[in-house]
């Protein structure tokens, strides 16, 4: 058998962002601003194509966290209390508060970038539940990836490179190593700082579904625990690992996604935690969302 001839490509950068999903694209946008001020480079690497990578590859129908600080809809305290209650008290309040105080500005940026967020006659966001906004999010990831591309430039984005672990210099993470899934190339990324956002872990437990249902998990099969592996290897502090989310699959629905929860008016339970995360865009309180008047409904339903 002929052994493939692998070339080793070395990439040097100041900030390496590992992963190209929602978190990574957001980090790229933010980092690009500071990097420009200080003459630094930002590099992003993803195993897929950033236009459609990660858990938002297919698009989403709702934004599940909007605090509404500017209109006084809720306070930071309200949000922390809600999360704490939802997770039976097992939460890092500092982290929750920190995300909550910045999430509204991210949502406002998404809207400016081109994400269609539903608004009512007065121009206010349409809510489905206290923290949810309705969107026409088929191209959610495309729009967010576009901002990241425009921020750091296509030359600094490496696609189709599978990262296998951190590059360590003693106890310091000095970058990442991986390989191309298209060419016979190993990649060594050397960086002053490394930020990891490769999503969560699916298929930790064997799904009970069989036949056609196998592999149809709620969480994307391509988020296979790389973040956890990488950060544990690099010696990062792990936190908030107590909570597992195990969505059920039954006919026509996988966990929180799908219209049928609405009809059943059901609530999901995980092993340890009761979650009130609703199916994206649907509410068991109000019934059909299509009854509501707003700007971004289907523009035509032709029968």
């Amino acid at each position: 058998m002929k052994v493939a001839d692998f070339e080793t490509v070395e990439v040097r950068t100041d900030l390496l962002i590992v992963g190209g999903g929602m978190a990574a694209c957001g980090a790229a946008v933010e980092a690009a601003y500071w990097a420009k001020k200080h003459n630094l480079t930002v590099t992003l690497v993803d195993k897929a194509a950033v236009d459609r990578s990660g858990a938002v590859a297919m698009g989403l129908s709702a934004i599940n966290q909007y605090v509404g600080l500017k209109d006084g809809e809720n306070t930071l305290e309200d949000y922390v209390r809600y999360v704490k209650n939802d997770l039976m008290g097992i939460t890092r309040e500092d982290l929750v508060a920190n995300i909550a105080r910045h999430v509204d500005s991210s949502v406002h940026l998404f809207e400016k970038w081109g994400l269609p967020i539903w608004t009512d006659e007065e121009g206010k966001y349409v809510h489905e539940g206290r923290w949810q906004l309705m969107i026409n999010g088929e191209s959610y990831k495309v729009v967010v990836a576009e901002a990241a591309k425009n921020a750091i430039g296509l030359d600094n984005i490496y696609e189709r490179i599978f990262i296998v672990g951190p590059l360590m210099e003693g106890n310091r993470c000095a970058g990442a190593i991986g390989f191309s899934v298209r060419e016979n190339k190993f990649y060594v990324f050397k960086a002053k700082a490394t930020l990891v956002a490769m999503g969560g872990a699916v298929h930790v437990f064997k799904p009970r579904s069989s036949g056609e249902g196998l592999g149809r998990a709620w969480y994307p099969p391509w988020n296979s625990g790389s973040s956890a592996y990488f950060t544990i290897q690099a010696g990062a502090e792990m936190t908030c690992q107590e909570v597992r989310f195990i969505p059920v699959r039954f006919k026509d629905a996988y966990g929180p996604v799908g219209a049928w929860f609405l009809l059943f008016k059901s609530r999901r339970r995980t092993h340890s935690v009761r979650t009130t995360w609703r199916p994206a865009g649907l509410s068991w309180r109000t019934g059909s969302l299509m009854e509501r008047s707003n700007r971004f409904r289907p523009t035509s339903a032709i029968t």
């Binding site: 195993k47 305290e77 105080r101 910045h102 081109g114 088929e138 056609e212 994307p220 971004f296 035509s300």
Partner: protein, 145 residues
């Protein structure tokens, strides 16, 4: 509803510089058989049905079907995605046809400006504000607990 390539429609993207479905699949499942210039999905069990291959295929060769184990066959779903909208066509088994059109973005393709157009003058890397904040928050300062 799993996706599959209809080999009669697939032309292997021969007119493009890369195979569209292979380029886009987040799980890298689409493969081009260069001998016959037809694509196929290498592992249906690992497909998430995200439909990105369906939406990107220039010849609409990637189709979707119901689950063989409990959905009666004969219905179909197809879509057409343009730069600002997507249209889904549902064909029921009794022949009924329904179409739904949704907007997908409000700005022209390629024009997402990273700072969202806000005045940005943030100089304090160690402060709590992200670079577009507090303007993008609509507040005078970043909220504190």
């Amino acid at each position: 509803m799993p996706s599959y390539v209809n080999p009669e429609k697939c032309d292997g993207c021969k007119a493009l510089d890369k195979t569209a479905c292979q380029h886009i699949c987040p799980n890298d499942l689409m493969v081009l058989n260069a001998d016959i210039m037809k694509a196929y999905k290498r592992d249906p069990a690992m497909c998430w049905e995200c439909y990105n291959c369906v939406k990107i295929c220039p010849t609409q060769a990637v189709e979707v079907r119901g689950y063989a184990d409990f959905v009666p066959l004969g219905a179909s779903v197809t879509c057409m995605r343009s730069t600002d909208a997507i249209m889904w066509t549902l064909k029921f088994r009794n022949g009924t046809l329904k179409r739904f059109k949704f907007p997908i973005r409000t700005t022209p393709e390629g024009t997402a400006v990273p700072n969202g157009g806000w005045e940005v003058s943030n100089d304090d890397l160690n402060g709590p504000a992200l670079f577009t904040e507090p303007a993008s928050l609509g507040l005078s300062e970043v909220a504190k607990l």
